[in-house]
Amino acid sequence: MSIQLIPATALFQRQLIVWQKNWKNFVMLRVLEPAIMLYAMGFGLGLAFDLVNGVPYLFYVVPGIMCSANMMACIFDGLYGSLTRNMYQGLWKSQLATSISLRQILLMEALWISIKGCIATILVMLVGYTFGGITNPLLGIVALPFLLIGGFTLSSLGQFIAARANTYMDIDYAWPLVITPMFMFSGIFIPLETFPHWLQNLALLSPLYYMVELVRGTMLSTLTLPTALVFSTVLLTIAFICQTLAYNIYKKRLFT
């Protein structure tokens, strides 16, 4: 096993080298954009809103936007990034010609994407802290494992959807079917209780919902241990299913 890990770390190193070139773009897109959204939502809408479940709207929305930053970073790279690397650049085929396996590529890419997602989220959290939307920034460190698991699940979901696509245009279908509903109905900035029951039940299918609940619970110190365990398990289960499905589809496409 230890020998098998070495090629996988090489993959990690490769991603790191690429990132050294475009981290500025990443920060612009994945940190500044949520930060602007935080300002508009937290202050703009916060003025118009009453308390949400007894919590001021700004405190409610900051953990939500943190999760949305994580989601955007992870699912985008999972979708468009893996499609680019596999279909457009042919990178995976070259990597598979070495001793790296397909499973390692999928796993390491998802892991790398989720680490990047965590970096974006923490920076967004610091912006939220300067706006006064977070009481204790150290709680962000406690929330890190949840963000990592959630990011991993979302990147795996992205990989799974991208596995069936041939061009960027094919991904258009993922927007109305997966990304927009997940963004709107996971309690990021609109409380889920606003919607009818069938929609609330549908939100249980969204991995983002579990991540938002875990992170918001941590940031507001209302999370209980059983909830944390159950929700993390659900996220890991979704991640496992997506990874397996993505692996099987890619295996068929790349090796037959």
Partner: protein, 250 residues
């Protein structure tokens, strides 16, 4: 100078034809979701008047949709056409650069207007907006608005070398436009320095016009917004002509 713009428009349509199913799927289902979530979900949490907010958000989102449709075309696809040498081939076919830019932006504006009208239809279905005779005015207004956004996109793309450059355009231009131009958050909630920026950005004028037409509050003051949009179109179109000419010759 503009002969051949019609041919370019036709070319754009032919290139778009295979993607019509994607377009319909994306711009029927996606607005349905965000209209419902924002106009009704968010509206229910606003203290005073949910019906008033759903009108506010729906009329804003009709105009706000233009950003998504028009800008991807005006930014990423324009750069692709430039970098793959399509423009150079068109130029050698004795079509002048202004005609290419104008033909492409006219087609982009038609596409944008179509998408915004679909969103309008959905808002009427959901009951966030009311059907009335003056709604036809939205067709020219949305068209001018889409044309403004398209020429703005062309102008900024002229400065950008690779697709990575657009990563800076979203947080600095398009995202602020969507959030601070009154699409679903009222402009007057923000501090005055930000309101000045909002009124500089073209989308706020499009939103203002759309909302006035939806509410049937037509007055001669609205011409100010039309003049502003027309000014942007002329300014950005001629600047783009100049910039792309320099870039292609270099």
């Amino acid at each position: 100078m503009y002969t051949g713009a019609g041919t370019i428009l036709q070319r754009q349509f032919l290139a778009w034809k295979p993607y019509i199913p994607n377009f319909i799927f994306l711009f029927v289902l996606d607005p349905f979701i965000y209209l419902y979530a924002i106009a009704f979900g968010l509206g229910a949490y606003l203290a005073d008047n949910p019906a008033e907010y759903s009108f506010f958000a729906a009329s804003g989102l009709v105009a706000g949709t233009l950003i998504w449709v028009v800008t991807t075309d005006a930014t990423y696809l324009t750069l692709t056409r430039l970098n793959t040498g399509l423009w150079q081939s068109q130029l050698s076919a004795s079509i002048k650069l202004p005609a290419i830019l104008m033909g492409e932006s006219l087609f982009g504006a038609i596409k944008g207007t179509l998408a915004a009208l679909i969103v309008l239809g959905i808002s009427l279905l959901l009951g966030a907006l009311n059907l009335h005779i003056h709604l036809w005015l939205l067709v020219p207004i949305l068209f001018i608005g889409a044309l403004t956004l398209y020429t703005t996109g062309q102008f900024f793309t002229a400065h950008i070398g690779s697709e990575q450059g657009f990563d800076f355009l979203w947080p600095l231009l398009y995202n602020p436009m969507f959030l601070f131009c009154g699409v679903f958050i009222p402009i007057d909630i923000f501090p005055s320095w930000l309101q000045i920026i909002s009124w500089i950005l073209p989308l706020s004028h499009i939103v203002e016009l759309t909302r006035a037409v939806c509410a049937q509050q037509l007055s001669s003051h609205l011409f100010v917004h039309i003049y502003a949009l027309a000014g942007y179109i002329i300014l950005f179109h001629f600047c783009s002509c100049h910039l792309y000419k320099k870039r292609i010759l270099a």
